[in-house]
């Protein structure tokens, strides 16, 4: 049972990591139409 919850926890952490990667690419592009705002998690 513990293993199941550990796997689930790791998966949740990986979601935040993958989102940061995606948002970083958008911010580096500076393209406003793609959603670049100058802030990693800010959304317009």
């Amino acid at each position: 049972m513990e293993l199941a919850f550990i796997i689930w926890g790791c998966v949740i952490v990986s979601a935040i990591v993958f989102t940061i990667i995606a948002c970083t690419v958008i911010e580096k592009s500076k393209v406003k139409r793609w959603g670049a705002t100058g802030n990693l998690f800010k959304y317009e």
Binding site: M1, A4, W8, S14, A15, A22, W34
Partner: protein, 529 residues
Amino acid sequence: MSERAVIYTLIFALYIGFMIWSVLKSLRQVESFSDFTTGGHRMGLILGVGTSVATWVSVASVMGVPGYLYRTGAAAIIGWVGGWFFCTAMQPLLAYKIRMPKVPMRTFPEFMRLRYEPGAERSQLQIIVALLMFVGYFIFTHLQVVGFGIVFNTITGIPYEYAIFGFLLILALTCSGGFWSVAASDTINSCLILGGLIVGAGAVLNATGGVGNIMEAIAATTAPVNEGGEPLPPGIMMTAAGSFGVGALFSIFLSNSFGSLVAPHWITRFMAPKNAKAAALQMMWTLIVLIPIFCCLITIGLGAKTLMPSLPVGKTTDYIMPLIMDSYAPPIVAAITLVALLAASVSTANSMLLNCSTSLFYDVYVALSGNKILNQAQATRRLRVCVFLLGVVAVISAIKPPLLLAMGFTYVYGAFGSIFFWAVILGVYSKKMNRQATYVTILVGLCTYLYGRITGNFTNPMLMSATFSLVALLITLKLTPPPPLEAYEAFFKADVSEPTMRTIRRIRHEEFSPEDMKPAEILGEPAKL
């Protein structure tokens, strides 16, 4: 009529009233065919999260997952909860790429056409993909109707075979407004599902005496799934692989994670947000909202084994959730939870039917009719009729259900992963992926998966088909020329060339406008004219 029945009817009537209000409100939003299919590519974060949560939380999760938890214990957390969460975790990486084009595609087959057959007058690939999608989504819709029937039967006492026809009443309501209607009712349904499951889990914790008692009971239980069945080995529900075995559980995990990652309804969802960042953030917030929902489902599924060690003969584990609520929760709590289950089936069925009908009408019928400019009002009207007719067929097919809900989803996700995984992932991340390699990967993936499922020769059909199709596509890429610029440019550059934009407009059955070539604004730089 008993007090419980009166409360069930009252809460159900309130739910229907709420749905009617939301649909009438959202009907004003429908303007074009794009609005009907993808909300006009202008969806904000809150609505996007609401609709994504409601699509994720289908009968496979709210009824199938507690059912499998009841059947096998911890293994269901790895196979289904872990698998689906891993899919959602990876989705931001795919979502922002799909939403990059200034003018995105409207359906998954249209995306495949742009990426792999942009110059074709009539795209065979678009039609093949649409037909494959149609089969998968029809099975999904069928499973939602089965779930609806089980819950509606519990609420009203109407026999299952008749209860499923109640689905058509709600379907007629929600599908009348297309994507915005589906999205609005999905968001309401998401709130209902979350609220219903929280009170439901509270009722189960109260009835069992808490988490400690549940854990003790499932560690010791040997009670068979159905009364009079074979007893479970002691402690099996606490082991990671449960009654599946490691190989079979890994197969389920892969289908639910990598298979559902490229499921066409998710690709369509990624086209709806107003920009690429909204698409990525939408999936992260969706996952965060899903955490409490699945905590409740795990509590209910495992708690059910404590409260009702074996199911009555003739009832599948899909019935465990409504049975537990009906037997152990106070009437008002049970009513809210059961309506939440209905909401889950309706919201996912809406979404699936919209995908199913769009693929059939737009990607087959309209694509076959050539590259004429689309009559928006006529297309939307015909699509509505198509949605309802397919709903009727789905209801008729659900009279004798052949599959358990969660496993039915896993099979279809496995098939989608086997067929589309490389075409989608390499389509947005590699400029080299071409038309020939896509045909090869679809063919090899489909044949290997079907062979594995039908013969049972592979423990992990999706892994085998993904491996075979990768090898086949790499060989094909070596032997064939690279794709034209129009095929991939929009997924890599903010400003595309005029031929690419003209191609996108032609595929969307729209007129090219000089406005389309306006350069993208760059942060910190003055706007270019």
